[in-house]
Amino acid sequence: MSILSDPRWGEALTHLSDYLGNHVRLSVAALALGLAVSLPLAIAARKAPLFRNVLLALASIVQTVPGLALLALFYPLLLALASVTLRWFGFGFSAFGFLPAMLALALYSMLPVLRNTITGLDGVDVDLVQAAQAVGMTERQSLFAVELPLALPVIMAGIRTAAVWVIGTATLSTPIGQTSLGNYIFAGLQTQNWVFVLFGCIAAAVLALAVDQLLALIEGGLKVRSRLRAALGGFGIAALVAATLVPMLARSPASYIVGAKTFAEQYVLSALIAQRLRAAGLSASSREGLGSNVIFDALAANDIDLYVDYSGTLWANQFHRTDILPREKLLSELKAILAKQDITLFGELGFENAYALVMPKKRAEALGIRSIADLASRAPTLSIAGDYEFFSRPEWAALQKAYGLTFRAQRIMQPDFMYAAVASGEVDAIAGYTSDGLIAKYDLLVLDDPKRAIPPYDAILLLAPKRANDEALRAALKPLLGRIDIADMREANLRANGNDAAASPDAVARWLWEKIGKN
């Protein structure tokens, strides 16, 4: 099948008006805010060398922060701010999605605008500034009638740069809950749907190029003082924004928002939950690709309505507990802790997605390894790979402590590539996930944990405070509790990693529902 006739292009297209619309609105708002702040600052800084150096240095520092980190930082910052305003002024605001994304991107857009505005104003012929004074202009009149118009082509060039940066960086706002063209890229990366990744990249690039060209038209028009060209460019931008506003006005927002973290299993489960809610006559949509530090806070703040988390993750990461309890005890204690924040632990789905040390079956047999204790004696000559967070998680510390584990080498890998790496012998062992479909695919062995160093990771359904007593929601979710066993989840995950139309989270969720419906 040729890549162009892949049905996933069609599926990608159905999301385009939503993702593109959000992306354009976010970018335009961020750019407008960035300009509203940068232009007055640049003008104020023009005659104060110290202020101007500090300003440019700060803007440069912001540029050196990776876009993803900048966006991620704004979330806790706003969350803290929202709780302060709630305490002091009696109102809070949503620190999720649009607001942090817009603020971070606005900050990101400032450097080129500041620099070009200052450079542009500096570049205005001194004689002309004197002429403006001599004909009787006040400083303000000189600024608006002479200096700014003359510096405008240079300023526009800065705005162009800022626009392209913002549109490109906006794709990174997906993990903090803002829908954007990045949704294609994050979803595609997690479910190995390269058509989505490609589609997202192309859409973002086309948008950036289109906006850049429209701004270039304005810039060119200003340079040769052609009002027609400048107006044409301005009209193009306005039309683009208007086009993305129309679908937003026409659509009524879904009443239930199902969150999903950034991996395939979460995409499948959120699709499954949304399907069950819709089947029960409730309107629902998925908010996918949320960072695992963001999603819990979003639930607590009622920004999303429900999602699936894992008991051990909350235990260790959210509540910083280092003690490890038996499964049932941990769940009941967790339930009590969550209740204090008005979050409902509605129940377990039936499977565990725990960290586990994994090796190829054959190699483990050859080395005589069955458990982590066996591995420990061999570890100094072996290498291990884990995902981005594993080696900084308490589980790893607990494992090291319990078994005295030290490996020859530790490597960090993208989870999807980890399994292939261990199967091919690139690394000797990996810190995998028990529900991962690739364990069966590559014929890998999950090593026993006789000392119970790794806490249990039951998949649990969490409900937002405002949904605590929502009977319709509870009734719709009930059929899912305790019904998904590890074998089914592994197979679902394996399917989601496939590279065809049947691998879309929606399709896999439908398959999973049929499967558990028969159990």
Partner: protein, 261 residues
């Protein structure tokens, strides 16, 4: 003699906290209707002296009165709006049309659009530029001489009594320069202006001005009519006069009267 329209009394101007003395204790009076030229080399302080009059610069010491009023007591923006100023290279705003450049000061003063428009047409005629051909052009589309004519028109727009000119004809070719200089001198007389013009060219100064002031190193060396300057004992003034004298003698010899000119 009538009350001077511009009067400098013991005026000094220093830059960089007194390290650079640009104008050093200058006293000078310009009468109503007079055309005064200030001559000096680069760094003589002549441009600084000119700019003190409309407060593009403020004097460090001494007192300057314009139309009898101490300039420090007058709002500087209002002062500049009633004094015309012509820059060496025109100083026209490149993003504005000829008409908009000329109409700036009247617009700042709040004239009606109709009055401004009528004034622009009147001024284009006054500086002998074709109205339909030049009105909506941008300065970059004009020749150097045309630009300077627009610069003069702009300076005259709000009907000032005083016009300050900073080497207005310096950057032009000799033919254009002569034509423009004579046209301006005629305007000066016709409109009853009081003009202070800066130049480094003694010949131009002697030919156009009623009186010539000579500056060197911030000091006013001498001021007077051509005949009065000729009697000056100052060596530098004598040196400056030597060039026009020699030119006149050579030209007299080369161009016999009654020739075919």
């Amino acid at each position: 003699m009538t009350t001077p329209l511009i009067a400098y009394a013991h005026v000094g101007k220093t830059f960089d906290d007194g390290r650079v003395v640009a104008v050093d204790n200058v006293s000078l009076e310009v009468s109503e209707g007079e055309f005064l030229a200030i001559v000096g080399g680069s760094g003589s302080g002549k441009t600084t002296l000119l700019r003190l009059a409309n407060r593009l610069l403020d004097a460090t010491t001494g007192r300057i009165a314009v139309e009898g009023q101490d300039v420090r007591d007058v709002d500087q923006v209002a002062l500049r709006r009633r004094i015309g100023y012509v820059f060496q290279s025109g100083g026209l705003f490149p993003h504005l049309s000829v008409a908009d450049n000329i109409g700036i000061t009247p617009k700042l003063l709040g004239w009606t659009d109709a009055d401004i428009s009528a004034r622009i047409d009147e001024l284009l005629e006054l500086v002998r530029l074709d109205r339909s051909a030049h009105r909506d052009r941008l300065p970059t589309e004009l020749s150097g001489g045309q630009r300077q004519r627009v610069g003069v028109a702009r300076a005259l727009a709000a009907k000032p009594r005083i016009v300050l000119m900073d080497e207005p004809f310096g950057a032009l070719d000799p033919l254009t320069r002569d034509g423009l200089a004579e046209d301006f001198r005629a305007l000066h007389t016709r409109l009853g202006l009081t003009t202070v013009m800066i130049t480094h060219d003694m010949t131009e100064a002697l030919l156009l001005a009623d009186r010539v002031a000579v500056m060197r190193a911030g000091k006013l060396l001498s001021v007077g009519t051509a005949a009065e300057l000729a009697r000056s004992s100052d060596a530098y003034v004598g040196e400056l006069l030597r060039t026009p004298r020699r030119q006149a003698e050579r030209l007299n010899a080369l161009l016999p009267r009654g020739g075919a000119a």
